[in-house]
């Protein structure tokens, strides 16, 4: 298995609170991605990173921010969680144009 770990695996939070999800890799891959998975939509890209401190928006970035201060860690922050952000979040890594690997996912519920 690719060395990629997401934490926490499950979280329930209240509307309006900040939440940070962590993705940690041991592969030293350059690219890291955050996706969300919702019924009827498949997986959609939130943000991605192409190096330390180099990040960019995906197709569903509103309400999310990211940071990558080290190669191995990519953080996804919901500044003020809303019910529409209830979802399963996946982190992925890849090296150049090669195969992408996904973490085990984080199930987030905003109540």
């Amino acid at each position: 298995d690719a060395g990629i770990t997401q934490s926490p695996r499950h979280k329930v939070t209240e509307t309006g609170t900040p939440v940070t999800l962590r993705c940690h890799q041991t592969e030293n891959h350059r690219y890291m991605y955050w996706y969300r998975q919702d019924p009827g939509h498949g997986l959609r890209l939130i943000h991605y990173s192409y190096g330390v401190k180099d990040t960019d928006k995906g197709e569903v970035s509103d309400g999310y921010s990211v940071s990558r201060s080290k190669t191995e860690d990519f953080l996804l922050t919901l500044e003020s969680a809303t019910s529409s952000q209830t979802s399963v979040y996946f982190c992925a890594i890849r090296d150049g144009g090669a195969e992408a690997f996904f973490g085990q996912g984080t199930r987030l519920t905003v109540v």
């Binding site: 690219y31 996706y35 498949g42 997986l43 991605y48 192409y50 195969e99 992408a100 996904f102 996912g105």
Partner: protein, 110 residues
């Protein structure tokens, strides 16, 4: 951006049957991946297949990049094959962001 369509959306098979899942994409790509999402939600890499055919046990995949489609074949299906199958292709530009199809949900029954 690139569009990815998968068919059929749902499929029910009896154990031992064969099936073909299709992935169409709207633009030229230089690679394509197939994933299996098991009932526990884990995304498992099946194939990384820019073109041609690859086989892994009872599963094989063929990508015809010039015609913008890929096929995933499952032979002698087993109940453990149940889940959702996704194909994903990279957008052009840096970072090769993957765009996913909406998946084929497969249920294999006894």
């Amino acid at each position: 951006g690139i569009q990815v369509e998968q068919s059929p959306p749902d499929l029910i098979l009896q154990e031992g049957a064969n099936s073909t899942l299709r992935c169409n994409f709207s633009d030229s790509v230089n690679n394509l991946q197939w994933f299996h999402q098991n009932p526990w939600g884990q995304l498992i890499n099946l194939f990384y297949i820019p073109s041609g055919t690859k086989q892994n046990g009872r599963l094989s995949a063929t990508t015809v990049a010039t015609e913008r489609y890929s096929l995933l074949y499952i032979s002698s299906s087993q109940t453990t094959d149940s889940g959702v199958y996704f194909c994903a292709v990279p957008n052009t530009g840096t970072a090769s962001k993957l765009t996913f199809g909406t998946g084929t949900r497969l249920q294999v029954t006894l």
